[in-house]
Structure formats: structure tokens, C-alpha cells
Subunit: 68 residues, 6 copies
């Protein structure tokens, strides 16, 4: 299946921090930019995310702001 | 002021398409990745966005998904 | 690739309305529930969405509210 | 009061997991679909959510993606 | 029904602008603060929003950023 | 830099609660309205948020619902 949210930025997982409900995933998208995804802990576990994984940060267009 | 949403990805505006209420801003963040921000037309006009502008795509962490 | 936003609800596209920037997709998820996705027109066109398509409405957990 | 976000999907609370700040609410919306709402712990407590509650998952249209 | 997103800010509708798919609702929440909600045109029509209406701007906590 | 999300509501931080991954920031925006922002713990720490701080709650227009 193909998803409508196709803003995808390739990166590598730097770190995974698991809270009780949420998890914080740091993704290095290109030197030196590091972005943080806050997803549910359960999703992080289901994807078995860990440092070094090749991933994509995916974002729906309506969630992207522009700063100038 | 500094904002809590600090996932910022630098890029260059490729195109701006204005609808009646919303606007679609295409931003080249690094070759060949192009992302699209859907913001209100009014914000696009207030920022006077146009092709070639150096901007940042800004995203709150809770809006970022991870695909692996 | 598998995505962290895995709340997926199967349904059938009832109608697609294209605006200049955004598109409204009505999805029948189970009789008589009809939900509306507002995505960019471009995504709707890229997915070639049209009435009768079998699709999934996908939602990140942090976007779901609960009413009781 | 009536709210503009009227995508509402009826379901039954399966489980409530409270973290320090956030809570994860699993809702069975129709066999076998289970969706997860990540809301603040405080909201979960204010609504006194617990297993078996009849609830609605409510989602703003701009938060719904389509996969095909 | 009571909804988990209970950040509600009272205000008065200043203007309603209908696009094809989306609508922009300007709400005066307290002098001189004016906020803009981008909702679907259909929701704006279903709520019969028009200037002078007493409304509430409702926001899920995970959508609120903090600037300092 | 100026950001496209310019719905900004001035207020004073009432309390900051840190979870492992997320933080809950209560902001008094005008008596008696109190709103809650759920941001990452890291952002809360980077902004050094604490009670009494003058802040702005910032919200993208597509995240604001209207209740009438």
C-alpha cells in the first residue's frame, strides 16, 4: 500500500528512548540535522527501532510549517 | 522567541501554489528530496513566500512518524 | 516499509472532491459511518483515488481524541 | 456544543495505560480493528476512562491519511 | 458527550471564508488576539458558522507548541 | 525567523510536569482559561520552562477545531 503522506526524509536512528506510553526517536537526517519523532512506545517496539536503523521520517503536509 | 517545535530542516522554496484558503509550498530540503507544506494562504502571503526563498520546514515532534 | 502510524481502518472511497490545494476524500468505513480525509490534491491525484477504491484511513495515535 | 471535528467512530475501550504525562487508550472499533489514542493522562482521568466504556474515537479531517 | 481535547478558548467569529474544500474561520478570542482555524468547508457549513457567532476554539494538547 | 503558524496566545506558565519522554505545560492564557501543551520533555528542558514564565501558546491553523 502507498500512503498519502509522502513527505519522507531518509535518515538513520541515533537513539531510542522509551517512556511508559510514548517513545522519542532521534533520527539523523543529514549532517548535522537531527530530528525527533514522538511516537507511541508500542509503535517503536513493533518496528523494533534501534540505533543505526535506516528509516524514513514521514510527515503529512498539513503538519509542516514554514519559517522564513 | 524560541519555539518548542524545533525540528527544522533547511531548504529552498521551489514553488508556491495558492488556493482560496490553503497554500501548498514545495521545499527542496536536499537533493532530491522535496517536501510539501500545506499552510493557510494567508500565512503564505504574510511570509511573502516565493521560489528561491531560503526557509526552514518546522515540524512538532508529535507529528513525525517513522517508517522502517 | 512499515509505518509507525498503524491505526488503519478499512473502507471504500465514496467520493473525491478536488480543490485547488486540498482534496476531500469521503470513506465509508462501515455502515453507516463515513469519514472525511483532507489531504493535498496532489496526494489524491498521485494515489488516483476515485469512488469504489478499497483504501485504509490511517491515523497517528497522537491525533485521536476520545469522547465519552 | 457541536464540534467541527465530526469524524467519530464508535467503539469500546479495551484498555487504558497511564504514563506520567500521556495515556494510551485502546479502542475496539469493530472486530478485529483496534485503534490507539494517545491523549494526556489528565484527560484520560477526567473522562474516567476504563475498560468496557462505550466511547467515540474523534479525529479532525486534516489528520486522516489515505493508504491505497 | 465530553471530549478529551478540552483546551477550549471562547471567542467570537469575525469572518468565515469558504474555499472549495477548506474554510478559514477567524475567531477573536480576546482583544486583540485573533486566531484562525482551518477546517473543512463542510464542517463550517454544518455548524452554520457566521460572523458574530459565539464559539470555542478547541485544540488537542499534543498540537500546542510553546514559545518563550 | 518568522513562522507560518502564527496563532499565538500569550500566557503565563502555571506548572510544568516532566514525564520520561513527554512534558505537560499548563499555561494560563486569561483568567480563568488554562490550556495544556504536551511537548517533548527535551523541548521543555531546552526552553527551561518553569512556573511564572511569560510564554506564547502557538498553534498551526489546521490544528484548531471550532465548537458552536
Amino acid at each position: 500500500m502507498k500512503i498519502s503522506a509522502r513527505n519522507g526524509i531518509k535518515g538513520t536512528v541515533e537513539s531510542v528512548k522509551l517512556g511508559e506510553v510514548m517513545a522519542s526517536i532521534k533520527i539523523k537526517v543529514e549532517d548535522p540535522t537531527l530530528i525527533t519523532a514522538a511516537i507511541t512506545r508500542e509503535s517503536a517496539e513493533d518496528l523494533e527501532l534501534s540505533g543505526g536503523d535506516e528509516v524514513k521520517a514521514v510527515i503529512k503536509s498539513t503538519e509542516i510549517m514554514v519559517a522564513k
